[in-house]
Symmetry: C2
Subunit: 424 residues, 2 copies
């Protein structure tokens, strides 16, 4: 019987509902993020959650392109009889990041946007990853990007805006790690690795945190790279480790013609510029082992790591070649993305209390309170709200004690009771 | 050549990008909405944008169920060779409203939620409507719902919360129209219309605004209803029109056994309760011609109309039978939805100015300002931000005059210029 068909109470596989306590924390964080980034001149934009399959499959998204939720064509466009493969069935998909949509947005609206354009995006993205604890198929990303700024002011502003935001959310003692794709490449070139295999080298280098220098050297050799190259390469890292005061200067000298001095100097200036504010919330360090996965990065790359946590909770870099894919003309671009879901998890685990909450008052109204008496209750609640309190007006349950206990758990701290007989 | 393949700059058909000026207005409105509803004890929740096709096609969504964006099955679940129809290809879809997901959410989490549960949802929904001016296939909805409150406190709180919110957004002189599905039915029964055709009667009644009483009478007769029923029905409306001070009392008397007196009294109490706050921003009126389309409504229905605008910009009502579709046990439920996109349009057209904006200062930094001098600029900007200003740090363009004109358009009111030579 249609009318009584049972419906499915659970969210779809790999996605989740968000309950009030977590939503309150998320809303608070979004408020701090928007306010802080706003102070740096970033302006919010939004793009549709759906993008054309062509844009999503343009090789900008790396492995994420395998995880697209595709949207079925509609009406006449969907022809099941002639459809041979998946590509014939879908013309759109849910976005897997906010960077490809931003590049499309900028290409579409560049004439209406200031230069440089400082964009803030907070929005959901979708990836059909294998469901696992703490990772969901819908999750929120929070990106800032500066488009049209070729100088290192972009990097400095992005890093300061993000570290200031994290500081305002109560994080302390975190580390900004920064590197340059062109330094990574110069180190590989200097060591004699073949250019076509740089990415293989970097994927192994990226494991330095976990397997150490010896592990990296072993894996490189096992991958078939020459012993000579591997030794030369590892000597660079051990040289850097031996406590040179300025690793960038040391590398610039050592790499000689393989690295233009301006590249090192540019990176030095970013680090000094970020340090200029004198914040004690974080430190910024040159990390020659930092790789960052996405192939679209062309210059600086950076990430933020919390103390005691191996994983990064924000990452970004310069990608000067992506917008040209849409317009034919390259536009300098640099972005920083906060791992919003990870930040929320960290705050939840730390027992974070949201500041500046209004006083919470519950008006409990006995069944039968009506007419003029009810009107007085309602008008009183409205006045208390105008004075800044949060007021819940609810019918009094039979078990009033239990009801008050529940409301206390929700944070209600004052109770006002209204009875049919005002003398009660 | 893959690397130079041109990508599509436009959003997908029927969806749109949102630029900074509109986003600022949207963010402001969302802030006011969350703050005001929060004061009434509504707590935010969120559900995934994707729901199972079974839930979306459960006949709760009316015509919207024909407009679902369906999501292609993945991996082994997708079998093109055995697929006979659309249903074999898709197992999920993008939600077309926030009410069906709320009912599922409540069914899933009732044990972890207070009773009554006051939910606020602000989120995107998707409908594959024919694209037309001002209507998009992705748009934002903003719903409040009270679940588990059988008494008319629910209606009073919903209407007060929504009118207070609209008032805080600067709207004045608007009208809340309220009716009862059971009064609608009693009027149809009293007039002798056959019960199976009530919905046909109501669809015609709904046009009263446009075609007037005569037009409604003519269409009813043309639809084959008896002249006697139509006359009896229209006499009710003309009787109400003839300036009875209390239409609800007049109807209750006239309809006799067709309408339980408690139903009219309940409606009266809601109107009086809402009036109790004495707000002059709006009026609330009993409107016996109000129908509201969705078939799931079981009691009160209401909407808000702005002065001079025929269309409603908020609507809602009581739907006590929906949650039972998920759980087997009915739960009293009542909701009110603001037409968020319409509100934004109205504010844009009225030239609304967002209050409380920070002072906007642009630091223009000549190319070549570097080292210690750049550090001073950055530290200065950071201090001004901590003092509450919005500070943009940007490289000075060759055409400084044009750059300043552009920034002035964006609202920057103060410019500070930094040169390589500090004496310049």
């Amino acid at each position: 019987m249609r009318g009584t068909m049972a419906l499915n109470k659970k969210p779809v596989t790999g996605m989740r509902d968000i309950l009030p306590a977590e939503m309150q924390l998320r809303d608070y964080c979004i408020g701090v993020i928007k306010d802080t980034y706003g102070k740096f001149g970033f302006t919010s934009i939004e793009t549709p959650c759906v993008e054309s399959i062509g844009n999503l499959s343009s090789k900008q998204g790396g492995e994420n392109e395998k995880l697209i939720f595709k949207i079925l064509k509609r009406g006449e466009k969907l022809n099941l009889e002639t459809a041979q493969e998946e590509a014939d069935l879908a013309d759109g998909g849910l976005r897997y990041d906010l960077t490809v949509p931003l590049a499309r947005f900028y290409a579409n609206h560049a004439n209406d946007l200031p230069s440089p354009f400082k964009a803030l995006q907070i929005g959901n993205v979708w990836r059909a990853d294998r469901p696992q604890k703490g990772r969901y198929r819908q999750f929120m990303q929070c990106d800032i990007d500066i488009l049209g700024e070729p100088s290192n002011l972009a990097e400095i502003e992005l890093i300061l805006a993000t570290t200031t935001t994290l500081g305002r959310l109560g994080f302390r003692g975190f580390q900004v790690r920064i590197n340059e794709r062109r330094i990574l490449k110069a180190m590989a070139a200097y060591s004699g690795f073949p250019e076509d295999f740089y990415d293989t080298v970097f994927i192994i280098l990226d494991k330095m945190d976990k397997i150490g220098a010896e592990g990296v050297a072993r894996e490189l050799e096992e991958s078939g790279f020459s012993k000579e190259s591997v030794e030369k390469y590892m000597a660079l890292f051990s040289g850097l480790e031996q406590g040179t005061a300025d690793g960038i200067a040391w590398l610039t000298e050592r790499l000689g013609d393989f690295l233009e001095p301006e590249i090192g100097q540019n990176l030095r200036e970013i680090i000094d510029g970020v340090k200029a504010t004198g914040s004690s919330d974080f430190e910024i360090v040159f990390d020659p082992t930092l790789v960052r996965g996405m192939s679209y990065y062309t210059g600086t790359i950076f990430e933020i790591v919390m103390p005691g946590l191996g994983v990064s909770c924000a990452g970004g870099g310069r990608y000067d070649k992506m917008i040209g894919r849409f317009t034919g003309n390259d536009v300098p671009a640099c972005g920083f993305s906060i791992g919003f879901e990870r930040i929320i998890l960290l705050l939840q685990e730390s027992g974070f209390t949201i500041p500046g909450q209004p006083k919470k008052i519950a008006y409990l109204v006995e069944k039968g309170v009506a007419g003029q008496r009810l009107c007085e209750v309602i008008a009183g609640a409205q006045r208390a709200r105008q004075d800044g309190s949060q007021v819940l007006v609810a019918r009094m349950n039979k078990n009033k004690k239990f009801q008050k206990e529940q409301l206390t758990k929700e944070g209600y701290e004052e109770f006002v009771e209204f009875y049919r007989d005002p003398l009660k």
